[in-house]
Symmetry: C2
Subunit: 293 residues, 2 copies
């Protein structure tokens, strides 16, 4: 994905959480964190990020210790700043208080806007149709967009329009090919081009741009970005990697209600993803502005 959008990945450093999160020093610090963190603080810090059951005590302890561990990552990765979605706000606030209490430096926190899920609710990995996966086929992308919530003339709650505005158009801008092109059929008026988001917005609000055409253009734009990723992942080695990362067995096991230890795996995944984000920001942040290559 990073290559697909033109990021110079030789400037990135990827760090696996397991390289330092099981060290003696990190573990001692994790115990220090637990000894100064109240149940109340932990619940508040993780409220938007960690799945927490309603106040009935059925939440797992892992979700309570997780926010503190994410804060420690800032110290152990030696970063200047952490970058995440706006849903990280409460963990970031917790980190601002926690790290200085441990004698460590407070870090800078940067957040970007949350794009709504295609179905209109929060994007969720457990709701397949709410998001586009990086390895979705062109057909699946068109199908998911076909189901997306998008009412004629409604520009207030419109996931495809939000996605276009906050993801696709900034990317086109970065690539030097700004604007939005819809390869519309001749019988509906033929191809159309909008140089800026404001023009797409106005046309949709006025009813001049139909939900179907917006979705068509967006699907093509997304597929153009995903195509190089698909090509790279077509090799047998990459396919095997995907199989290992997301084994089909796990899905079946869930359906059967089997007990599996994938909670632990999930913690690991979240850690690694987090670190990628952190380091990613760190190197880009140094160069001035994000995405500016």
């Amino acid at each position: 994905m990073l290559k697909s959008i033109g990021v110079p990945i030789d400037k990135l450093e990827f760090v696996r959480g397991s390289e330092y999160q099981l060290s003696r020093e990190f573990t001692l610090d994790a115990l220090r964190v637990a000894s100064v963190t109240t149940l109340h603080d932990a619940q508040r810090a993780g409220a938007e990020v960690v799945r927490q059951a309603a106040n009935d005590g059925s939440a797992k302890l892992s979700g309570l210790i997780y926010p503190g561990l994410q804060c420690l990552d800032e110290q152990y990765l030696g970063v200047d700043a952490q970058f995440g979605g706006a849903d990280q706000r409460k963990i970031f606030m917790f980190a601002k208080k926690l790290l200085p209490a441990l004698g460590y430096a407070e870090r800078i926190h940067l957040m970007n806007r949350m794009v709504p899920g295609l179905t209109g609710d929060k994007m969720s990995s457990s709701e397949v149709d709410s998001k586009i996966d990086l390895l979705d086929s062109a057909k699946v992308v068109r199908k998911k967009l076909g189901k997306a919530f998008c009412q004629l003339g409604n520009v207030e709650n419109n996931p495809p329009l939000s996605f276009l505005r906050h993801v696709i158009l900034p990317l086109h801008e970065l690539r030097g090919t700004p604007g939005f092109h819809i390869e519309r059929d001749e019988k509906w008026g033929g191809p159309v081009d909008y140089p800026t988001y404001d023009e797409v917005h106005a046309a949709f609000a006025a009813g001049d741009l139909s939900p179907e055409d917006l979705k068509l253009g967006l699907a093509d734009a997304i597929n153009a970005i995903l195509e190089p990723i698909r090509v790279e992942f077509a090799s047998p080695e990459r396919q095997a990697l995907v199989e290992r990362a997301y084994p089909p067995e796990q899905k079946k096991a869930k359906g059967k209600g089997k007990v599996s230890w994938d909670e632990e795996g999930r913690i690991g995944c979240v850690f690694v993803l987090l670190i990628v984000c952190l380091v990613f920001f760190f190197f880009f942040g140094c160069e001035g502005s994000l995405w500016s290559v």
Copy 2:
């Protein structure tokens, strides 16, 4: 203390918690524990052992993760059984459920009776007068017993009587010098001997044995047991050790309301004590019955 009561300490193995509790394997297992333990289970398991604030969320996370870590100790020490006071019951119940869920063997749990504190409430390390310290001077022992709750004729709620019954008399039995001797002054009737607890109990219930005389005999019996410990700790090396273990500065810092990191230290102490208990039981347990040397 062990030497004072005749334990062959060459048959004991002492293990420090820090020798394995910061290892990669233990830490991974601690994360597994957190991922299967609910807030409810953790609160229940630690209810009698860990200081937990009332349901207002101000309890620290350390108290919530502690019960699971104590359970893991059973596995990492490789013991057959864990021995503790009856206040450990809920943690032991938790361990019976938790270890098999992690794929480890369930352990045997043995508990002994809780002796009430001298003041009549639960014995507490934060209430100095509720307990006898191993390094208390003979004078301090007499003073603490002087303040102990002990009503004439009341055999139901009588801490000195309980202590005599469950600690002192079994020890006298083990040493081959059973019974209870009171070196009473001639003007109060002179020295008196009770061969068994039942006779002490009957005499006290009938009012023939006064609280003052019971306390006098008990103080002498306790001091006889503590004397070899005091002698051993009289050396400058041992005195320095005590100073390091219980620095006077800490008490002052608490008084001033300073923030200190001694929570962590306390966790460490609890661990080490626990392990001593575990290993202690393990070697003794193998020989049949506790204390039978």
